[in-house]
């Protein structure tokens, strides 16, 4: 039954730059490639958000060089509404797809999943390589929208039809830009499908001796569940994008109803439905949110244990339960994005119940984390600080979910800044905090050098306070009925809120600037940082059993790894308060 393992192990360390660093089959290199792509993407996305924030705070402020970014133009470098919407669309898409999916899942997952199960590589290294390069192509096609045709699309990252499906007449950026968007996302789906397939197979089939499913680290579990979600979610978005392309390029009308009159022109469509797109999109869209956040669950649990020096409250079983429950529920709640979309009002009630039920596994997870801080010997390094930050931010974001999960309160809050605050906290910021924690925790292993703790702490404090200054006020704006996706606030009930937007803008600029500290820290560590020991954090899982940092090509230097217990054997009063997974010794008694 193991001829595939043969397939896996039969590739030897390649020589030559191209095979080694570009078209590499090594999951570690591919992981770093994904991480690098995400890093590039996240800074692009951040700059876009800066421009948006500047415009929201000071609508008629000329921003030098603005006109370079879009064919939609900016007369006198003053942002036009269509320009703002393009930025918004590109920001959303970049962040959701190329950052929140790439970094925590594809990036760290690729690097550490095989190591944590004791494998020499992924099950299908070639698929793995393809998955990255397809994703990379998707990114290039996507960025092209900035430079070709009539500028980037303005239909938002959700690309609601018919705005996104009738073409140029519905607005600037809807001719070429939207088509590029659809093609790019379709490619992205293919890449992620290949990746997910690989993750699942590796987890199930390539575990080293003694690494039972129950003994897998929580991070591995999280990546595994994420892969399961992705395998189905992206398989749904792919045809949706293809149908969209058909509508745009070949005149079908899947998403366009009959008798549409755009700017006095009667369009020749028959009997499509805009709601169909919303169904197809959100059936992917909601799981996608979990694809972004669930790796964070695993990573944070994993790192928290190493820094609290005790196993997670409830062991791994409860957390695994929560993760699986979340993954399962994520497929039953897409309708809660469509409460006021014109569905049967009864279905809103049906969708709201499972949505509210999601708060149960979330709460249990939070309780487990907080509970395991109790009585800990908590080490406050940057990684653990970001974990604590993750928990705090996740609580704040989760709480606002209560309001949006109910149709009755969603009537008011739907499409206000309350929603923006909610998903930025619970999905974006939380996931990013997970990425930061993982970076500070694992970079020593990935680049073989330690990152600077002082810089790291500065980075944490500025970011942590910053995100609260940015997103907490957005809740208040939402309660004051501040509608989202407005490029300027001209309505009587919105004008008094502009000062709040000014405050948020300043906070956003400062927080963004703080990220440069992180960038510099990473850059500095990569080249001049102190050499990292094999196990700097005194952690137990397999990535710390590799003979070197970074690990050799086959991860364990040809050594056959055997695992004797789960990854969280911490505790005890002794000098050495942890036991490696590879160590037959039993846990030290308290």
């Amino acid at each position: 039954m193991n001829d595939t393992q043969a397939a896996v192990h039969h590739h030897v360390a390649p020589q030559g730059f191209i095979r080694k660093y570009v078209f590499s089959l090594d999951h570690k290199v591919i992981g770093l490639q994904y991480y690098g792509l995400a890093l590039l993407a996240v800074f692009i996305g951040m700059v876009l958000s800066w421009l948006m924030r500047l415009h929201l705070g000071w609508a008629s402020l000329p921003i030098p060089g603005l006109h370079f970014l879009s064919a939609n133009g900016a007369p006198g470098n003053i942002m036009t509404p269509e320009y703002y919407l393009s930025l918004m669309t590109m920001h959303g898409t970049i962040m959701v797809f190329f950052v929140l999916t790439n970094a925590p899942f594809a990036g760290f997952g690729n690097y550490f999943l095989p190591i944590q199960v004791g494998a020499a590589d992924m099950a299908f290294p070639r698929f793995n390589m393809m998955s990255f390069w397809v994703t990379f192509t998707a990114f290039i096609v996507f960025m092209l929208a900035f430079f070709v045709g009539d500028g980037p699309p303005l239909a938002g990252w959700t690309a609601y039809t018919p705005l996104s499906s009738v073409g140029g007449t519905s607005g600037p950026g809807e001719a070429t830009g939207q088509t590029l968007w659809a093609i790019s996302i379709a490619l992205f789906c293919v890449g992620q499908l290949l990746g997910s397939l690989n993750f699942i197979t590796t987890t199930l089939d390539l575990r080293t001796k003694g690494m039972t499913l129950a003994r897998m680290p929580l991070s591995t579990w999280a990546w595994f569940v994420t892969a399961c979600i992705g395998l189905l979610a992206f398989a749904d978005l792919l045809p949706a994008c293809i149908l969209l392309i058909l509508d745009r390029a070949f005149g079908t009308s899947f998403f366009n109803p009959a008798g549409m009159v755009v700017s006095d022109q009667l369009l020749k469509y028959s009997g499509g439905s805009p709601l169909l797109w919303q169904h197809l999109f959100w059936f992917f869209g909601h799981p996608e949110v979990y694809i972004a956040i669930i790796p964070g669950f695993g990573i944070v649990s994993h790192i928290l244990c190493a820094n609290t020096r005790k196993p997670l409250l409830g062991g791994t079983r409860v957390m695994i339960g929560c993760i699986i429950a979340l993954g399962f529920l994520s497929y039953m709640v897409w309708g809660h994005h469509m409460f006021v979309s014109g569905l049967n009002p009864f279905s809103a009630l049906l969708f709201s119940v499972p949505t509210l039920i999601i708060t149960i596994p979330s709460t249990v997870a939070v309780l487990m984390w907080v509970g395991s801080v109790y009585g800990a010997k908590l080490r406050f390094n940057t990684a653990s600080l970001f974990c604590l930050g993750f928990i705090s931010v996740f609580i704040s974001g989760g709480i606002s979910g209560f309001f949006l999960a109910q149709p009755s309160t969603d009537i008011f809050l739907h499409a206000t800044y309350f929603v923006v605050a909610h998903f930025h906290f619970v999905m974006a910021v939380a996931a990013i905090f997970g990425i930061f924690a993982a970076t500070y925790f694992w970079m020593p292993k990935m680049i073989g050098r330690m990152m600077n703790e002082t810089l790291g702490k500065w980075h944490f404090w500025l970011t942590f306070i910053g995100v609260y200054c940015i997103f907490m006020p957005m809740h208040y704006l939402g309660l004051a009925a501040n509608v989202r996706r407005y490029s300027a606030f001209t309505d009587d009930f919105l004008i008094p809120l502009i000062p709040v937007h000014k405050f948020i803008t300043i906070a956003a600029l400062l927080t963004g600037a703080a990220q440069l500290i992180f960038l510099w820290n990473l850059f500095y560590a990569r080249f001049w940082g102190p050499k990292a020991p094999d196990n700097p954090w005194e952690a137990t899982s397999l990535e710390w059993s590799t003979p070197s940092s970074p690990p050799p090509f086959d991860n364990f230097g040809g050594k056959q790894i055997e695992v004797f217990h789960d990854a969280y054997q911490y505790g005890g009063a002794g000098a050495k308060d942890y036991v490696m997974q590879t160590d037959p010794a039993s846990v030290p008694a308290d």
Partner: protein, 240 residues
């Protein structure tokens, strides 16, 4: 042999100069003028008052409210905003150096119908404290759709093919006008009395066309002499 050369050169010079002379346009004789009045028969549709309540800033500027401008009539059956132009009988000429100007004031287009030549420079200005978007809906030229926030500089444009292009502002759907892109410099738009005058037309036989936005155009043959030539048009209009 100097003679040969001298002869050759002089022949060349002669031929060249004569070519120059021939190719030089004959001095245009004093052009005639075409004048006339455009009227209608039948009941014209009632122009509805425009409800600008969406945009209070503009609403205040129009008391009593403006009316729709699809069929604008004047005293004794005059039709305003009719474009009268020479549609055939002369060779097209290049665009003049001077550009034309289109204004947005109080959420209305001024003028309602703007005639211009192919490839003539067009500048679109806004005086309003609210953002507009200019959305021409051409059939032959390329469609575009740009928004113009308050205080933004003028939008520059030009049209490559001759056609009558409806212009609208999606933000203020009642804002509606026409770009009459023509190949001839000889055109005029009727005033509130339905009168028009096209001057500087070289004598000859032409086809004169009158275009009204909500009726099919009318053409007639005219022979222009040095003096004044009269050409009236009458549109049949329906109440709805």
């Amino acid at each position: 042999m100097p003679w040969k050369h001298i002869i050759a050169l002089s022949v060349l010079v002669l031929v060249g100069s004569s070519l120059l002379v021939l190719s030089a346009p004959p001095a245009a004789p004093a052009g005639g003028t075409i004048t006339g009045k455009v009227t209608y028969t039948g009941t014209p549709p009632k122009m509805k008052p425009i409800d600008m309540s969406k945009e209070p800033v503009c609403n205040q500027q129009h008391n009593p409210p403006e009316k729709t401008q699809t069929v604008v009539t004047g005293a004794n059956n005059a039709l305003e905003y009719v474009v009268v132009y020479i549609s055939a009988g002369e060779k097209p000429s290049g665009p003049p150096s001077a550009g034309v100007r289109y204004d947005q004031k109080g959420c209305m287009y001024i003028p309602h119908v703007l005639p211009m030549l192919v490839n003539q420079d067009l500048k679109i200005y806004t005086d309003d404290p609210v953002a507009h978007n200019i959305h021409p809906l051409p059939k032959l030229n390329a469609e575009w759709n740009k928004s113009q926030p308050p205080g933004a500089p003028a939008i520059d444009a030009k049209w490559e093919k001759a056609e009558f292009i409806a212009v609208k502002c999606n933000i203020h759907p009642w804002m509606h006008g026409y770009f009459a892109v023509l190949e001839t410099p000889h055109y005029a738009v009727t005033d509130e009395n339905g009168n028009y005058t096209i001057s500087g037309v070289p004598p000859g036989k032409y086809t004169l066309t009158a275009w009204q936005e909500s009726n099919s155009p009318i053409s007639k043959e005219v022979t222009v002499t040095a003096g004044e030539t009269k050409a009236d048009f009458t549109f049949k209009v329906l109440p709805y």
